[in-house]
């Protein structure tokens, strides 16, 4: 009897085994690595009333050794390939890559996304929606704007790195960490800025220094490429549309206002009373900005307080750094330089009438009632035009580097 029961139990287990195949339900979504075209970057243009999407696909068989990274594979084969396709919608364009590529497009590892100026002027909402909605699209990609055709940028090979998408990511991360002309902008940050009270955002420009595109692996064997990728100006978006550009200098001023300085180099005149000659460098290591909106009867005054500190790295004039007066003089010169940057930036931002300063957010946080009224009247544009800024800059030179006197003063002695 016991044996019979045991047999029935075994038979049941055997019959249940096929049911285990249901555990393989993931098979509907299986993807073989060898069948995927892993995108490291994408670019979007608007051409002939259609979307043009360009995808940069990593070439696993590449061994282009002149560009750093590991070897292996064919050295004549480029490290990535680009596919440009057109469609009435972005997804239609993406799907059409399957007409030309042997691998299924996989965008989860994409690092950058470049928007053509044509797209930015038309509106970026559809692109943002795609990145927030599509399952394998990452909203952490870094966003750039290119004047003219954005797809061209993706064709350019880089030295020192095989993966151009990751290379551009490093460039912008390095820029925002060491230079702070403008902050890096990821797709979700763009969406956050455009959906905030300010309704405006900025995107850095990426361009080529020359006319030619270095898209052959043999061309990267040179020490100085005639055409390189470089970060340029800062595009300003209002609503979903691009309304203008800020120069690097203006963008730098904006970064001070929005408190996004991580580290920066400021070149200044060491003897501003006697000469306008820019002959000193100061590395700003710490900087914080506080903005307090003050209602002055009929308009807002933005009290912008900037406090920073850093180290002197270069002096081209005769100077004794043990003398407190010399240091104060330099601090004043740096402060004036920052004030100039801010004023210059503010005037341009005001002209563009796009609140990339985030003042609307500050006013909402500090003066809820007035903000509700502004929102009700839909009068933010007018209020923004009437805003007056009062910047106060306080810079402290904390260290002088490894020398207490400038070399010029030793020479004069």
């Amino acid at each position: 009897m016991k044996e019979q029961k045991h047999c029935i139990h075994k038979l049941r287990c055997l019959l249940l085994l096929p049911l285990l195949s249901t555990l393989l339900s993931g098979c509907w979504d299986d993807r073989e690595l060898s069948e995927l075209g892993i995108a490291s970057g994408s670019a979007y243009d608007w051409e002939d009333n259609q979307w043009k999407a360009t995808y940069q696909i990593i070439n696993p068989s590449s061994g282009a050794s002149g560009m750093g990274g590991g070897g292996g594979g064919s050295s004549s084969s480029p490290p990535f390939l680009t596919f440009a396709v057109k469609g009435k919608t972005i997804i239609e364009a993406i799907q059409r890559t399957n007409l030309t590529s042997v691998r299924e497009l996989f965008t989860s590892h994409s690092r950058i996304s470049i928007l053509g100026e044509s797209v930015a002027r038309r509106g970026v909402n559809q692109i943002i929606d795609l990145f927030l909605r599509k399952q394998d699209a990452r909203d952490t990609v870094y966003v750039f704007i290119a004047k003219g055709n954005a797809g061209r940028i993706l064709d350019q090979l880089m030295q020192l790195t095989k993966n151009q998408g990751a290379g551009i990511q490093l460039m912008i991360e390095q820029e925002s960490k060491l230079l702070s002309y403008y902050p890096s902008v990821r797709m979700f940050e763009l969406a956050m800025a455009l959906s905030s009270e300010s309704g405006s955002a900025v995107i850095p420009e990426i361009r080529l220094t020359g006319k030619d595109i270095m898209d052959e692996t043999s061309e990267t064997g040179r020490t100085d490429l005639p055409s390189r990728l470089v970060l340029g100006r800062l595009a300003v978006l209002k609503g979903e549309k691009m309304v203008g550009w800020l120069s690097q200098k203006q963008a730098f001023g904006l970064t001070f206002i929005t408190s996004k300085i991580k580290m920066a180099n400021i070149s200044f005149a060491t003897h501003p009373q006697t000469s306008d000659k820019i002959d000193g460098s100061f590395i700003l290591q710490k900087s914080a900005t506080t903005v307090h909106p003050i209602w002055a009867k009929d308009h807002f005054i933005m009290d912008v307080n900037i406090k920073g500190s850093g180290v002197i790295t270069e002096i081209g004039s005769a100077m004794d750094l043990n003398d407190r007066a010399s240091i104060s003089q330099m601090e004043k010169s740096i402060e004036n330089h920052v004030l100039e940057l801010i004023e210059n930036s503010w005037q341009t931002v005001k002209q563009l009438n796009a609140d990339v300063t985030g003042f609307a957010v500050k006013i909402h946080r500090s003066d809820r009632k007035r903000w509700k009224q502004i929102k009700k009247d839909k009068s933010w544009d007018t209020v923004f035009q009437q805003i007056e800024i009062r910047p106060h800059v306080s810079i402290k030179i904390e260290r002088m580097g490894l020398s207490n006197k400038s070399f010029k003063s030793i020479e004069q002695d």
């Binding site: 339900s25 509907w28 927030l132 990452r138 956050m192 959906s195 946080r365 809820r368």
Partner: protein, 367 residues
């Protein structure tokens, strides 16, 4: 198979009953109404939840862990108990079906885009039926281990997002009227009312007298986790962006980047969430089976688990096939249904019992 469970184990079951779906569904619903005042809405919902926990705890103290419907039958009439049982059975079947659908929808949206829903539903159901057959003690033990995993995930989450958080994004506080915050707190209150599941877990509690404490402990943990999730998500994305994403909690995880080697962590957190939602579904399936057992006074519920599971699966597949319908139910209908079955019904039972007792006492005094 069904051994007794301790107080802390039961409190952790309450946490799993509420938290897994709450953390996915609620931020968007609360954020849409209350924006940066969302934490206030969660506080309000928790206070109401504590009241519900007190009510449920009081009933369990009265009946001292006797099965809920048997107790009603003994106190009033078996017919009333059966009628209430049928209503509650319908409620638990519906709730389990919506949990299963939320689970399937989430997995479909985020991971398994092409896998047929029927296959996923069947697979989840088969695994959950197996879990329920092992008994509540086994579920409670596994649940405690899963909750302990928070010790790994919370520091990783906090550390990974530290650089992205900005406390000013929580401002201005009290920007919304009390009515808006109350409106935002209705849906989370319906989630908090799920503490009423203790009514069907009571026969398996080692100390039914501590039912109130179990409810309070569970809700306190849920409150802390909801606040943590809501505040960190708002500090990262701000209140406006929060409204744009269907699963804000997982979007937050998606931006974690530690060095150049730890990124795209959302899949790790989704795996953990799947563990938790399996447990939540199993607790509800257990309560459904228990309700069925008490309503129809069957000795062993094991043969019926599969059949009840089938009903849940069919409801999940056909009643809730439209995600918009489920969203509207969660936003607007859920509160009424949950308050009716988790608050008003137990409250009515408690009041009737009180009246009955008072009557008996008076009779006793008269004789």
């Amino acid at each position: 198979m069904n051994g007794k469970i301790g107080t802390s184990q039961a409190a952790m079951l309450v946490v799993t009953t509420i938290l897994p779906t709450a953390i996915v569904v609620l931020p968007e619903i609360i954020g849409t109404y209350a924006e940066q005042d969302s934490p206030l809405a969660i506080m309000m919902a928790t206070l109401l939840g504590v009241g519900i926990a007190a009510l449920i705890g009081t009933i369990i103290r009265y009946n001292n862990g006797v099965p809920f419907l048997d107790w009603i039958g003994a106190r009033s009439s078996p017919l009333l108990a059966t009628l209430l049982g049928l209503l509650l059975l319908q409620f638990y079947l519906d709730t389990s079906a919506t949990i299963l659908r939320e689970f399937v929808n989430f997995v479909k949206d985020t991971v398994l885009l092409n896998t047929p829903i029927t296959v996923m539903t069947t697979l989840i159901l088969v695994i959950t039926i197996y879990m329920v057959r092992q008994g509540i003690e086994c579920i409670a033990r596994v649940n405690s281990l899963v909750i302990l995993l928070f010790l790994f995930f919370i520091p990783l989450y906090t550390f990974g997002l530290a650089g992205e958080m900005n406390v000013h994004r929580l401002l201005p506080i009290f920007d919304h009227s009390l009515s808006t915050i109350t409106l935002a707190s209705l849906t989370p209150t319906s989630w908090m009312s799920e503490v009423a599941i203790l009514l069907f877990l009571a026969p398996y509690l080692k100390s039914p007298q501590k039912a109130r404490l179990i409810g309070y402990m569970g809700l306190l943990f849920v409150f802390l986790m909801m606040m943590f999730s809501m505040i960190t998500t708002m500090m990262v994305f701000g209140p406006q962006y929060l409204k744009l994403t269907a699963y804000p909690g997982f979007s937050t995880v998606g931006i974690i980047q530690i060095g150049r080697f730890v990124e795209n962590l959302d899949i790790l957190f989704i795996s953990y969430w799947v563990l938790a939602i399996y447990l939540k579904f199993s607790i509800f399936l257990f309560a459904t089976v228990e309700c069925f057992k008490q309503t129809f006074r069957v000795k062993s519920s094991r043969p019926f688990i599969g059949a009840l599971g089938l009903v849940i699966a069919l409801e999940c597949l056909f009643t809730w096939s439209d995600p918009a319908k489920l969203n509207i139910y969660n936003k607007e209908g859920r509160f009424l249904v949950f308050i009716l079955f988790n608050v008003l019904l137990p409250l009515a039972v408690l009041l009737l019992t009180g009246l009955h007792q008072a009557k008996n006492k008076r009779k006793g005094c008269e004789t």
